[in-house]
């Protein structure tokens, strides 16, 4: 349910402009073309969260903080952005009296990461094919 909501939000985001969307055209490439970047995961910390979750079933807030070497506030803000976009699911439980926050990648998040990887590869491919001095 949350993932569907998030997917809809990501879709809405894609249809709007950069301010709401999370998407923006890559400089030097035609708008609406294949080389639009997903701004939700283009940011470094968010990209790290999504990449780490792609190879782990789930990771706790503490695991992610240690792995990415970021602060509580920073990680929390970026994780919330991913959660709002429907890319990750957040589950809060208690381990005894200690609160435990666990994150999982959603199907939408996995698909968007794959799309992002494809975009990066396309950029590398396109820039390699450009003749020297054409920029």
């Amino acid at each position: 349910m949350a993932a569907e909501r998030g997917a809809a939000s990501a879709r809405r985001a894609r249809e709007g402009g950069e301010d709401q969307t999370g998407l923006s055209p890559v400089e030097g490439y035609p708008e609406g073309g294949a080389l639009e970047l997903d701004r939700v995961i283009h940011e470094r910390v968010r990209l790290g969260i999504v990449s780490a979750l792609a190879v782990n079933g789930s990771l706790t807030f503490t695991d992610l903080r240690a792995l990415l070497g970021t602060t509580d506030g920073n990680l929390s803000a970026h994780a919330r952005r991913l959660e709002d976009a429907g890319y990750v699911l957040c589950k809060k439980t208690f381990d005894g009296r200690t609160p435990r926050t666990e994150y999982r990648l959603t199907a939408v998040g996995r698909r968007e990461l794959e799309a992002y990887l494809a975009h990066m590869e396309a950029i590398i491919h396109a820039t390699r094919e450009q003749p020297e001095g054409s920029e």
Binding site: A52, N56, T62, A66, L67
Partner: protein, 205 residues
């Protein structure tokens, strides 16, 4: 009061070329996946220390006059090895700035524990039944099983070392009982020293 205008320093780095940024992003994704997906805190020096301790235990066990002295040598070595490996793994994880028991670390620990618990139970059963000649082969095979299972969350040499431990264990079970200490020395001593060196060279620690 008007403050004097402060001269602004230009702190922004020149923008990265698109191609470089894309390459950098792909590298970052790969590194993050590797760091979070594998347990890389297995310390090469820790594994070498386990090998040295095992060789010392093999010498003591070879000269043991009764079963309890023999058992004491090997179980003492196991305890000492565990302590040394844990200390060096914790040191390596501190140096890398990642807590020892993050996601992959926890999986590693959970995979190591069950075969070792089985090994402890089997040791008691063998002592009870007087089948102590089965101990070297069983220990080597169960330790190998633990290393293979845990190694699936770690760097490549670790599961390979587990497979070789299981092979040496199988050979020990099939060989004459008097060769038990030689197989223990070859496995816990030789394999640990060899693979410890490889892990230390390739993955540090």
């Amino acid at each position: 009061m008007n403050l004097p205008a402060r001269k602004l320093r230009r702190t922004q780095k020149p923008p990265l070329a698109l191609h470089d940024r894309a390459m950098d992003d792909l590298r970052y994704i790969r590194e993050t996946m590797e760091r979070s997906g594998s347990f890389t805190h297995v310390s090469g020096l820790g594994v070498i220390a386990m090998g040295v301790i095992a060789l010392a235990a093999a010498i003591l066990a070879w000269g043991a006059t009764d079963l309890w002295a023999w058992l004491g040598a090997w179980l003492g070595a196991a305890g000492l090895s565990f302590a040394a490996a844990s200390f060096l793994m914790a040191r390596k994880s501190r140096a890398e700035g990642i807590p020892l028991l993050t996601g992959p670390g926890r999986k590693f620990a959970w995979n190591v524990v069950p075969p070792l618990v089985v090994g402890a139970a089997l040791t008691l059963a063998c002592l009870e039944l007087g089948a102590t000649s089965l101990l070297p082969g069983s220990w080597l095979m169960l330790y190998g099983a633990a290393v293979v299972a845990a190694g699936s969350h770690s760097v490549r040499p670790v599961p390979l070392m587990g497979v070789l431990f299981m092979t040496v264990g199988m050979a020990a079970l099939l060989a004459p009982p008097s060769w038990g200490d030689a197989f223990m020395a070859a496995g816990f001593g030789g394999l640990h020293l060899g693979f410890g060196f490889v892990i230390w060279r390739r993955h540090g620690g």
